[in-house]
Symmetry: C2
Amino acid sequence: MIQAEIITIGDELLIGQTIDTNSAWIGEQLSLLGINVRQITSITDSEEHIIETLDKAKQKAQLVIITGGLGPTNDDLTKDTLVKYFNTRLVENKEILSSLKQKYENFGLPFDDVNKAQALLPENCIPLPNRRGTASGMWFEENGIVFISLPGVPYEMKGILQEEGFPRIKKHFNTPKVIHKTLRTIGIAESSLAEILKNWEKELAENNIKLAYLPSPGFVRLRLSAFDATEQTEKIITSKVKEAYRLIGEYIYGEDNQTLEQIVGELLKNNGKTLSLAESCTGGTIAKLITSVSGSSEYFKGGVVSYANEVKNSVLHVSTEVLNEYGAVSEQVVRSMAKNVCKLMKTDCSIAVSGIAGPGGGTEEKPVGTVWIAVSYNGKVSAKLFRLPYNNRERNITVASNFALNLLRKKLIQ
Amino acid sequence: MIQAEIITIGDELLIGQTIDTNSAWIGEQLSLLGINVRQITSITDSEEHIIETLDKAKQKAQLVIITGGLGPTNDDLTKDTLVKYFNTRLVENKEILSSLKQKYENFGLPFDDVNKAQALLPENCIPLPNRRGTASGMWFEENGIVFISLPGVPYEMKGILQEEGFPRIKKHFNTPKVIHKTLRTIGIAESSLAEILKNWEKELAENNIKLAYLPSPGFVRLRLSAFDATEQTEKIITSKVKEAYRLIGEYIYGEDNQTLEQIVGELLKNNGKTLSLAESCTGGTIAKLITSVSGSSEYFKGGVVSYANEVKNSVLHVSTEVLNEYGAVSEQVVRSMAKNVCKLMKTDCSIAVSGIAGPGGGTEEKPVGTVWIAVSYNGKVSAKLFRLPYNNRERNITVASNFALNLLRKKLIQ
């Protein structure tokens, strides 16, 4: 397996001003290409420290990816350090120069000497054009080891790697054919999945298909990966995915990069259904998730965040008798909220949530984490009680919101 | 200055499954103590690699903090590796053992040999008790260099450092007296702040007070730091903060760790005012921010997410004439939304937002980023137009939501 190291440069990483998300993304992408990342090193903008770290990295790695320190200001030292390290000199790159001029013109900004310096590149590197910014990526080769230097701005770095870096890496290292397939589950614990999938997992291992459980609150993703994959492997993965649907299909809400809010949105759109929301403890989080999808105005009409009981009564017309008799966190109240918000906003479906997010407000009968969710679909209302195990307000809100979306999803696929 | 290195251990960090937030937090805390973090290294669970990294770290650092790899399962190698590295042996720690037993009893879980192994600790370490989990922290000293090993679970790691680690570090290294003061601004660019504060900054530098600009979308934090601070320094900082309020006071919404939603919440509570919301393009994000503060039910009654124009009309009673004549993104519509939601939910104040978050929906007259915000306060409505420069849906929504909260804050302090 090809060994890689990632070096991220910048004082802001060491004093906690910026969380290094670049190396996690690069690490994931390289591992998807079948390349092993053995170390990530974050260091300050210092020539001595950069050189020392490059020296160490090349002892163990065939690929070294460096991010940061490519800005035009004095505290950015990476380019000059690389010139020294690879014993070369800076030369003006005409293509980069004219594309930079164009960029500054488009923005109506003056093109001065500081900006012009961004067109000076080490003579022995292959420039990797940056379509989203002004600092070019650079590809160096020395004794069969590849060094790639990239700007630290995440979306510029990602753009350069996706358009220029990864295609070159694949070709240069002749990386193996890799297949990944991800199944996304909700509402089942990792340990319970592992129990159900015990035998299913064995057959994967026998066929050299790796399985990773990737948990996050409420969710577990299952990622199948095959390196040096043949047509036969592809067939096996397809058949194992089918089998997974038979075993744990009720928990699978999507595949690969699909999010729950995207899937619910697509189902609503495809079924020609409109949605409204009545949120109490989730306080607008479900609305935020739904509207984070661009184009959601096609199926989402609106919602009521009925935090106070008066609002449940005055806007959503939940009767005071029901509120007083059963309490705001009850089956009766969420059913009424779901039914009435559909009527109020003239929608085909709705979701209603009422619960205790914490840290305060819990009782013996209804402890923190108690959440009632109702879904109204084509005039029929169903409700379900959840007892979330978290003593954390944010987590209860997030998980309740996703469980609510999942209840609607299940109605939409029935 | 004391030099420190951070080593984070775990395969999940290298394949991008987990973003390493631990080292950013530790880096921030150490720099606040006046300790310089020179390198962060993330490595796999491998004995050889751990030892090699420790060897390198101790050549340059007086303090080495290691996180991860302390679980009870076979793939966690840190403890055994440290035993080897410090040439010691594992012994059972009676206090830790009895506290572990207690924890398992409380959870109603069986206390087996695997769990019991968590009470075995290297003979020559000072145990740092973990009140939130089962893996103890460990403090080693060798030739004047301090090594601290901690579990990788963020809230356990933070708890141990705050309760046990940092007090010991301060004492052991006799760290300098450090003062930090943060001013939080909104609605002004970093470069404009720097222009206004040019002379103000000079005097800081003359008194050895460091200034950091910490920008995030819509916000800039200004952090003043003084190391080896005397009473005189404290006085200077107090007077410079006062001066900053004179220069940029209109942009400062809070200090230190206060968030905008907390401050707005406190102002509402202290003034005895209640709040309602009418959100269109922000789609519930303001409600989510407000309700993320525990205890917000004291002042927040509820909100309407009026995504569709029909809902603006039927629920919020914005007249169809106004909607048709001016369009949903207009001063007239947000004024009407703000006024009517106050009436609907019987509150003292409200915020209303309507805009174009993108990527679609922009026109020449109202491009993506156009946002109208209205605030109703004690029966009076004011409105303001923002033209946000982002071509990014998520960023437009976040910044518009925070600008909306800030408009209300300004009314509350008038």
